[in-house]
C-alpha cells in the first residue's frame, strides 16, 4: 500500500505545483486542490495503512489497526480546502464582473491613479456596482 500512496503523493504534488505556477485562476484552483490532496495523503499515512478499521474488539492486536486521529485531521482539512477553493473561485468571478480576467494580476497601485469615481466609492466604503 505504501509505495502506491507514495507515488500518488508524488504525482499530486508535482501536478499541483505545476498548475500553481499559472496565471489562470482556474488552473491555480485545481493546483491547490491537487496539492491539498497530496498533503492529505501524507497526513493519512501518519496513521499507518493498517488492515483493520479502528473498531476495537477484545481479541485484536493494536498494531493491525489504522489510527483514526489522522483521519479526523484530514476530514477537517478537506472541508477547509473545499471552502477555500470555493472562495477563490468566487473571488475570480467577482474579478471578471469588475471587468478583469480570471487571472492573478498585480493589484492596481495608486501610482496609476484610481479614477475619481472609484476613489469616492472607496472612501464612502460603498462597493462599486458595475454591470
Amino acid at each position: 500500500m505504501l509505495p502506491v500512496v507514495t507515488m500518488a503523493v508524488f504525482m499530486l504534488m508535482t501536478v499541483g505545483s505545476y498548475l500553481l505556477m499559472h496565471r489562470s485562476l482556474l488552473r491555480v484552483a485545481l493546483g491547490l486542490g491537487c496539492l491539498g490532496h497530496g498533503i492529505n495523503l501524507i497526513v493519512l499515512s501518519a496513521g499507518r495503512w493498517g488492515q483493520l478499521a479502528p473498531l476495537v474488539a477484545a481479541d485484536m492486536q493494536a498494531t493491525d489497526v489504522t489510527d483514526p486521529v489522522p483521519q479526523a485531521f484530514v476530514l477537517t482539512a478537506i472541508v477547509i480546502t473545499m471552502a477555500l477553493t470555493l472562495y477563490l473561485l468566487a473571488v475570480a468571478v467577482a474579478q471578471t464582473r469588475r471587468g478583469g480576467q480570471a487571472e492573478l494580476v498585480a493589484a492596481p497601485e495608486s501610482d496609476h491613479p484610481l479614477d475619481a469615481e472609484s476613489l469616492a466609492a472607496e472612501f464612502a466604503g460603498r462597493p462599486q456596482e458595475r454591470a
Partner: protein
C-alpha cells in the same frame, strides 16, 4: 472558564450580529461591549498567570495528550489582552459616518470572528487546533479583504489566498510528520517526546513549521502577499491586521521555538530572515508614495526585528521580541489611523498630491509625530526601549552582522517617517490652489492609541520585566508541560 469565555464570546456575538443585522450604531455598541468584556476577562487572565501559574482547560473529558487542551501562561495572556484592547480601538475607529454604514455593518461580525480565531490561536495547546485557528483567522481576513468590494481589493486578495493556502499546506504536512513520529500533536507532549524522534525527519517537520509560520508573519522572502492586500482595506481594519494578525505567526514561533527546541541551523535561518526583513522591508517602504503601502512594507521590517530577536533564542532575545511586538501592535495601528485621516482630508492616497493645509493642523501632526518617532525609536517613546532591548539581545549574543542590519534598518525607518512628514505636513503641491485651513480634531481611537504609546514608553521598565519573566517561563517550559500533561480528564496514561 475564562479561557472558554474569551474564545467563544466573540464568535457567539459575531453570529448574532450576522443573523440580526442591526443598524450600525447598535452593532457598534454591541461590539464595544463585547470588547470591554473580553478586556476584563483578559485582565483577569493576566492577573491569574502573573506568578507563573498555567491555566488549563480540557475538552470532552479527554486528558492530554489525547484530547485538545487550552492552556494560558503569561505569554498567551499578554497577546490575548493585546487583541481584546485592539478590537475595542478598531471598533471605535470604524465609524459609519466616515467609512460608510455598509462597511461597518459588514466588518463588525467579521472582526469579532477574527478575534475569536486569534484568541483561540493564542490559547490553544494543540498544534492541529492551532492549524484550525489559523484557518479561522485567514477565512475571516479573506472576507474582511472583500469588504471594500473594489477592483483593487479583489485583485489584492487573490495572492493572499494562494500564498496562505500553500503555507497552510506546509503546516499540515509538518503536522502529519509530527503525528507519525510522536503519536500526538499536543505541544507539551511534543516537547517531551520529540527528542526521541529520528533527527532527519524531525528537522524536516520543524523546518516546514517555521516556513509556514514565517509566511503568516510575512518575513522577507515570503512577505509579498501583505503589501498587496493591506492597503486595500478600510484603514481601521488594516490597523487590526497590521497590529495583531501577523503576531499570530510571531506567537506561534515564540511558542514552538523553545518548547520544540529548534535546531541551531533553523535558529540561524530565523535570525537572518529577520535581519534581512528588517532592512529590505524598510527599503521597500522608502520607495513608496502611497501612505498605506509604505506602512505595510514597514510591517515587514518591524516583524523582522521581532523575529530576529526571537531567533537569538535566549531569554533576552525572547523578552525583546515580546516587548517589541507589544510596542509594534500599538504604533502600527495608530499610524494607519493617521494615514486614514490624511487620505480622507486630502482625498488622495498619494503622498505627492498632499497638502499640509488640508491635513487639519496641530493635533494630527502631534499624533503622527509621537507614533512616527516611536516607530523610529527615539527616546523616551516605546520604540526606543523596544529597539534598545533588541540591540542588547543581539549584542549579548554577539550577533554583530545582525546588529549592523538592524541599525541600518532603524536609520531608514526614521527616513521613511520623515518622508511622510515632509509630504503630508509641510509641503504644498506646486500649482497650489487656494485652500482654507480648517483645524480638525483627531479621532478618539487615535488619541487613545497615542496615549497608550506614551504610557508604554514611560512604563517600559515594569513591562520589560514582565516580558523577561514571560520569556524565562517560555524557555524553561517545564511549568507549561507539567500543567498541560497533568490536567485531569479521562483516558489512559501515556505509555511510551
Amino acid at each position: 472558564m475564562t479561557l472558554i469565555l474569551l474564545f467563544s464570546l466573540p464568535a457567539l456575538i459575531a453570529l448574532i450580529l450576522w443573523l440580526w443585522q442591526p443598524p450600525p450604531a447598535w452593532s457598534r455598541r454591541i461590539s464595544l461591549l463585547t470588547s470591554a468584556i473580553l478586556m476584563i476577562a483578559a485582565v483577569v487572565l493576566l492577573r491569574d498567570t502573573a506568578n507563573g501559574h498555567v491555566e488549563v482547560v480540557t475538552f470532552g473529558g479527554w486528558r492530554p495528550p489525547y484530547g485538545i487542551a487550552f492552556a494560558a501562561d503569561s505569554l498567551s495572556a499578554l497577546f490575548v489582552a493585546l487583541q481584546a484592547g485592539l478590537l475595542g480601538i478598531v471598533v471605535l475607529a470604524l465609524r459609519p459616518e466616515l467609512h460608510g454604514a455598509l462597511t461597518v455593518r459588514r466588518a463588525h461580525p467579521l472582526a469579532l470572528m477574527l478575534t475569536s480565531g486569534l484568541i483561540g490561536g493564542f490559547l490553544t495547546g494543540d498544534l492541529f487546533n492551532l492549524f484550525v485557528m489559523f484557518e479561522a483567522v485567514l477565512i475571516s481576513s479573506y472576507l474582511l479583504l472583500q469588504v471594500p468590494g473594489t477592483r483593487r481589493s479583489v485583485a489584492g486578495a487573490l495572492p493572499v489566498i494562494v500564498i496562505n493556502f500553500v503555507a497552510s499546506g506546509l503546516f499540515l504536512t509538518a503536522l502529519g510528520l509530527l503525528y507519525g513520529m510522536v503519536g500526538s500533536v499536543n505541544i507539551a507532549d511534543l516537547a517531551v517526546h520529540l527528542g526521541d524522534a529520528p533527527i532527519g525527519l524531525r528537522r524536516v517537520a520543524l523546518a516546514l513549521l517555521v516556513v509556514a509560520f514565517a509566511t503568516k508573519a510575512a518575513l522577507v522572502p515570503l512577505c509579498f502577499w501583505m503589501p498587496a492586500s493591506y492597503p486595500t482595506l478600510a484603514a481601521p481594519l488594516a490597523a487590526l491586521f497590521a497590529g495583531i494578525m501577523t503576531k499570530l505567526g510571531v506567537y506561534a514561533l515564540l511558542r514552538i521555538h523553545p518548547l520544540l527546541s529548534l535546531d541551531a541551523s533553523l535558529q540561524e535561518a530565523l535570525v537572518w530572515a529577520g535581519g534581512l526583513s528588517a532592512l529590505l522591508g524598510v527599503l521597500a517602504a522608502l520607495s513608496q508614495y502611497e501612505v498605506r503601502r509604505l506602512l505595510s512594507f514597514h510591517s515587514v521590517s518591524q516583524v523582522g526585528f521581532i523575529v530576529a530577536a526571537l531567533g537569538l533564542g535566549d531569554s533576552l532575545g525572547l523578552a525583546a521580541a515580546l516587548f517589541f511586538a507589544l510596542h509594534h501592535s500599538l504604533v502600527k495601528p495608530s499610524l494607519y489611523l493617521v494615514a486614514d485621516e490624511l487620505e480622507r482630508r486630502n482625498s488622495t492616497r498619494d503622498l505627492r498630491e498632499m497638502d499640509f493645509r488640508k491635513a487639519g493642523g496641530g493635533l494630527l501632526a502631534v499624533g503622527f509625530g509621537i507614533a512616527a518617532f516611536s516607530l523610529a525609536g527615539l527616546p523616551p517613546l516605546s520604540g526606543f526601549f523596544g529597539k534598545l532591548s533588541v540591540f542588547r539581545a543581539a549584542f549579548e549574543a554577539e550577533a554583530f552582522p545582525l546588529l549592523v542590519l538592524l541599525v541600518l534598518a532603524s536609520l531608514f525607518t526614521l527616513a521613511s517617517m520623515l518622508k511622510i512628514w515632509r509630504f503630508a505636513f509641510s509641503q504644498k503641491p506646486i500649482p497650489a490652489e487656494p485652500v482654507e485651513f480648517v483645524p480638525q480634531p483627531m479621532g478618539g481611537a487615535l488619541c487613545l492609541l497615542v496615549a497608550l504609546i506614551l504610557i508604554l514608553g514611560f512604563a517600559a521598565g515594569p513591562v520589560y520585566t514582565y516580558a523577561l519573566e514571560a520569556a524565562q517561563q517560555t524557555i524553561d517550559g517545564s511549568q507549561y508541560q507539567r500543567a498541560v500533561l497533568d490536567a485531569s480528564g479521562l483516558g489512559p496514561e501515556r505509555e511510551f
